[in-house]
C-alpha cells in the first residue's frame, strides 16, 4: 500500500518536484563532474604538473663533488666517473616502473666553434628514443618526454646519429646569430663535427645557453663509448610524509615494506640506485615538494566546491520540500485524522524525497559526465568515461542531500494538528 501511495504521489506537486529534482541534479552534477575528472586525472593531473621538469637526478656515486656552471660540468669529465648508458633500460624494470614517465641521459662537454673560436656547451642526450620495455613496447624517452614544456621553434632533433642534428637554446642562437637550418662546426677533443640546427629551444632555464646534440655523437668525439654523466628522470610520485623521509636503513621491516611499495620519490630513487650501478639518485626536492603542495591545494579546492554545491542543494531542497509540505497540509491533517502517526506521514514524505533524490542523482550524473567532458577536454585533454561507481556515489549523495534537506520541513509535519488544517478549509 505504501508503494501504491508513493506511486500515486508522483502525479502531484509536479512542478515543485521537477524544480527540486533539477536543483539536486545541478548540485550533484557538479560533484559528479569533479569526481569523474578527479578519478581520471588522478594520474593525469600529476603528469601535467610534471611538465615542470624532472624530479629525480642520477649521478655517478663518487662524483658527488662537481663544479657545475650553467648546467655544464667543469670538473674533469675525462677523468671523472661515469654511468653506463646500457643500464638505462633497467630503470623501466623497477617496482614503480609504470610511474617512470621518462628519462634522459646527459653527457655535457665544452666545444669551440670553428668560425670564431667561441666556447659553447654541448650536451649529448636522447631526444625521443624508442626504448621498448617489457610491458610498454611503445615506450620512448628522452628530453622531449622529460621536458615537455620546452617550447621548440622548428622540430625536435632526431636520435639517428648519422644525421648530426642539433637543437640550440634561444639565447645561444641569438648570440651566435644562428637560425634553423644553419650549420655550425665545433671542435671537441681535437675533432671537428658539423651540426645542422633543426630546433630553437625556449625553456626559461639554462638550456637556452646550450646546444643539445645526439649522445652518440658526443660519445664518439670524446672517445667515451656508452658513457653518460647524469640521468634526469620524470617520475609520478606521491607527497612524502614524515615516515617516508626516514632513512631506509633504520626502518623496521614493515615500515620498509610499506615505504618501498609506495611511489614516494625517495623510494623510487632508492629503487633506481638498486639497478644503476655506482649511482646516486637524488630527488630534485623543491620541484617534487611543490608538486605535492599544488596537488593537495587542487584537491582542497575540488573538495570545497563539492561541499559548497552540496550545501547549496540542501538549502534549495529544504525550500522546495517546505513548499510541498505546505501545499499538502490538508492531506497531512487527513492522514493523521485517519490514524497515520507522525512517523508514517514523515516516512511517506521522506520516500518521496528519496525518489526526488534518485531522479536528481541520475540526471545529475548525466549532467556531471557531460560537464566532465567539457572541463576535461578543455583543461586536461581527457575524456571521462562512464563509471558505475561514480554514478552510484552520485545517486547516493543526491539521496542524502534530499533527505538532509527534508529534515527541517518535516519537523512541521509532526507539529501539525489535524483540526487546524481540516477545520481551516471550511
Amino acid at each position: 500500500m505504501f508503494l501504491r501511495i508513493l506511486r500515486r504521489s508522483l502525479t502531484i506537486n509536479k512542478k515543485r518536484k521537477a524544480l527540486t529534482i533539477s536543483v539536486v541534479a545541478l548540485g550533484t552534477g557538479v560533484i559528479a563532474a569533479l569526481l569523474s575528472i578527479a578519478l581520471v586525472i588522478g594520474d593525469r593531473l600529476e603528469q601535467e604538473l610534471r611538465t615542470y621538469g624532472a624530479n629525480l637526478e642520477v649521478v655517478p656515486a663518487v662524483d658527488s663533488l662537481r663544479i657545475e656552471i650553467n648546467g655544464v660540468d667543469y670538473s674533469n669529465t675525462a677523468r671523472g666517473a661515469y654511468l653506463d648508458e646500457r643500464q638505462l633500460p633497467k630503470i623501466k624494470t623497477i617496482f614503480w616502473r609504470h610511474n617512470i614517465v621518462g628519462f634522459a641521459p646527459f653527457l655535457p662537454v665544452m666545444g669551440s666553434l670553428k668560425d670564431n673560436g667561441r666556447t659553447i656547451s654541448l650536451v649529448g642526450t636522447w631526444f625521443e628514443k624508442p626504448m621498448p620495455a617489457e610491458d610498454e613496447p611503445d615506450f620512448r624517452t628522452g628530453v622531449k618526454i622529460v621536458y615537455p614544456y620546452w617550447q621548440v621553434e622548428g622540430r625536435w632533433a632526431s636520435d639517428d646519429s648519422s644525421v648530426s642534428e642539433a637543437m640550440i637554446g634561444a639565447k645561444l642562437a641569438r648570440v651566435l646569430n644562428l637560425a634553423n637550418n644553419d650549420h655550425f662546426t665545433t671542435e671537441v677533443n681535437g675533432r671537428f663535427q658539423r651540426f645542422r640546427i633543426v630546433g630553437i629551444i625556449r625553456s626559461g632555464g639554462v638550456e637556452e645557453n646550450q646546444a643539445f646534440v645526439q649522445l652518440a655523437v658526443i660519445q664518439k668525439l670524446m672517445n667515451l663509448p656508452h658513457k653518460i654523466k647524469k640521468i634526469q628522470i620524470s617520475a609520478l610520485t606521491i607527497p612524502e610524509n614524515k615516515k617516508a623521509r626516514k632513512d631506509p636503513a633504520i626502518m623496521t621491516p614493515e615500515e620498509y615494506e610499506k615505504w618501498y611499495c609506495a611511489p614516494y620519490i625517495s623510494a623510487i630513487a632508492y629503487q633506481i640506485m638498486e639497478v644503476i650501478s655506482n649511482s646516486r639518485a637524488k630527488p630534485i626536492l623543491q620541484v617534487a615538494e611543490s608538486e605535492g603542495v599544488i596537488l593537495s591545494k587542487i584537491k582542497l579546492i575540488l573538495l570545497l566546491i563539492a561541499i559548497a554545491s552540496a550545501g547549496a542543494s540542501i538549502l534549495a531542497v529544504a525550500s522546495g520540500m517546505t513548499a510541498i509540505v505546505m501545499e499538502r497540509r490538508s492531506e497531512i491533517g487527513l492522514l493523521k485524522a485517519i490514524g497515520a502517526s507522525n512517523r508514517q506521514v514523515e516516512a511517506l514524505f521522506l520516500a518521496e524525497a528519496g525518489m526526488i533524490g534518485v531522479f536528481g542523482g541520475l540526471i545529475g550524473y548525466g549532467l556531471g559526465l557531460f560537464l566532465a567532458q567539457i572541463i576535461g577536454k578543455s583543461s586536461f585533454n581527457i575524456t571521462a568515461p562512464f563509471n558505475p561507481a561514480v554514478a552510484l556515489i552520485t545517486i547516493i549523495l543526491a539521496v542524502i542531500i534530499t533527505l538532509l534537506g527534508s529534515l527541517f520541513p518535516l519537523r512541521s509535519v509532526a507539529a501539525l494538528e489535524p483540526v487546524v488544517v481540516l477545520h481551516g478549509q471550511e
Binding site: 500500500m1 501504491r4 500515486r8 502531484i12 492522514l335 490514524g339 497515520a340 477545520h423 471550511e426
Partner: protein, 243 residues
C-alpha cells in the same frame, strides 16, 4: 461512569465561545444525534470527541481514558484504534482513487485489503466508481467514499458530521441503513445533522445553540434504561422536535 463522558467542555475562539460548558454522557452502543443551527458548535464538539482538537477547558473521556489529556501521538493512536470519522467536507487524498482512499484507512489501522474496501464501496453504491480520483467524483459520491472509509475498520465509535448532507433520497436511505446496522451491531454513533427526520432515528437528540447544549430529546430508536441518563439540569425535556 458512562462510555463517553463529556464534562463542562468549552472551546473558545477569542471572545467567541464555540462550545460553552457542555456536559453530556453517551452510553456504549448509543446513537446520539447532534442538531442545531449553523455555527452552533456541532463540528467543534465532534472534533473534540474525535481528539482532532483540544478544548479550552473541560474534558472528554472515552471508556475511562481522558483523551483531552493525551499527546498528539497518543490521540492519533487512539483514533486509529477506536474511532471512525466522517468529515463535513468529505476530505479525501486528492491523488488516490476512491478505492485507495478507503484502503489507506485500512492500511494505517491494520492492513489494506482491496477486496474488502471494494465491497465497502459497493455497499454505498459506488461499485462503478472504484478507480475514480476525488476530482472525478460528485460531492455526494465523495461523501459516500468518506462514509465507507469511516466504517471500514469497524470502529467502536463512529463520529459523522452531516453524513447525508449531499445525498439524494435513495443514497440517503442506503447510508442510513448502514448506520442503523452499525447501531444494531453495538457501535456507538454520534451523528451531526440538520435533518430532523434523520436526527429522529437516534436514541437521543442533543441540540446546540450558540455553543450551549439547550435540550436533549428522545429519538425514535429505543434503548433499554434510556430514561435514566438525562443529564442536564435546568433544561426542559421536549418530547420531540416539531417539524
Amino acid at each position: 461512569m458512562a462510555f463517553i463522558e463529556i464534562d463542562s467542555l468549552t472551546k473558545t475562539y477569542g471572545r467567541l465561545a464555540a462550545l460553552d460548558r457542555i456536559t453530556l454522557q453517551i452510553e456504549k452502543g448509543e446513537w446520539v444525534s447532534i442538531m442545531g443551527p449553523s455555527g452552533s458548535g456541532k463540528t467543534t464538539l465532534l472534533n473534540l470527541l474525535g481528539g482532532l482538537d483540544r478544548p479550552s477547558s473541560g474534558s472528554v473521556s472515552i471508556n475511562g481514558s481522558v483523551i483531552t489529556g493525551m499527546t498528539l501521538n497518543e490521540l492519533t493512536q487512539f483514533r486509529r484504534e477506536h474511532i471512525g470519522l466522517v468529515f463535513q467536507q468529505f476530505f479525501m487524498i486528492p491523488y488516490l482513487t476512491a478505492l485507495e482512499n478507503v484502503m489507506i484507512a485500512q492500511y494505517y489501522h491494520s492492513m489494506a485489503d482491496e477486496d474488502e474496501a471494494a465491497t465497502a464501496l459497493e455497499k454505498v453504491g459506488l461499485g462503478d466508481r472504484l478507480h475514480h480520483l476525488p476530482s472525478e467524483l460528485s460531492g455526494g459520491e465523495k461523501q459516500r467514499v468518506c462514509i465507507a472509509r469511516a466504517l471500514i475498520n469497524d470502529a467502536e465509535i463512529i463520529l459523522a458530521d452531516e453524513p447525508t448532507g449531499n445525498l439524494d433520497a435513495d443514497n440517503e436511505t442506503i447510508v442510513m441503513n448502514l448506520f442503523r446496522r452499525m447501531h444494531a451491531e453495538g457501535h456507538t454513533l454520534v451523528l451531526v445533522t440538520h435533518d430532523s427526520t434523520i436526527g429522529w432515528k437516534a436514541n437521543r437528540i442533543a441540540t446546540l445553540e450558540h455553543g450551549r447544549l439547550i435540550k436533549i430529546d428522545s429519538g425514535s430508536s429505543t434503548r433499554q434504561e434510556e430514561s435514566s441518563e438525562i443529564v442536564l439540569e435546568g433544561i426542559d425535556r421536549s418530547e420531540s422536535l416539531s417539524l
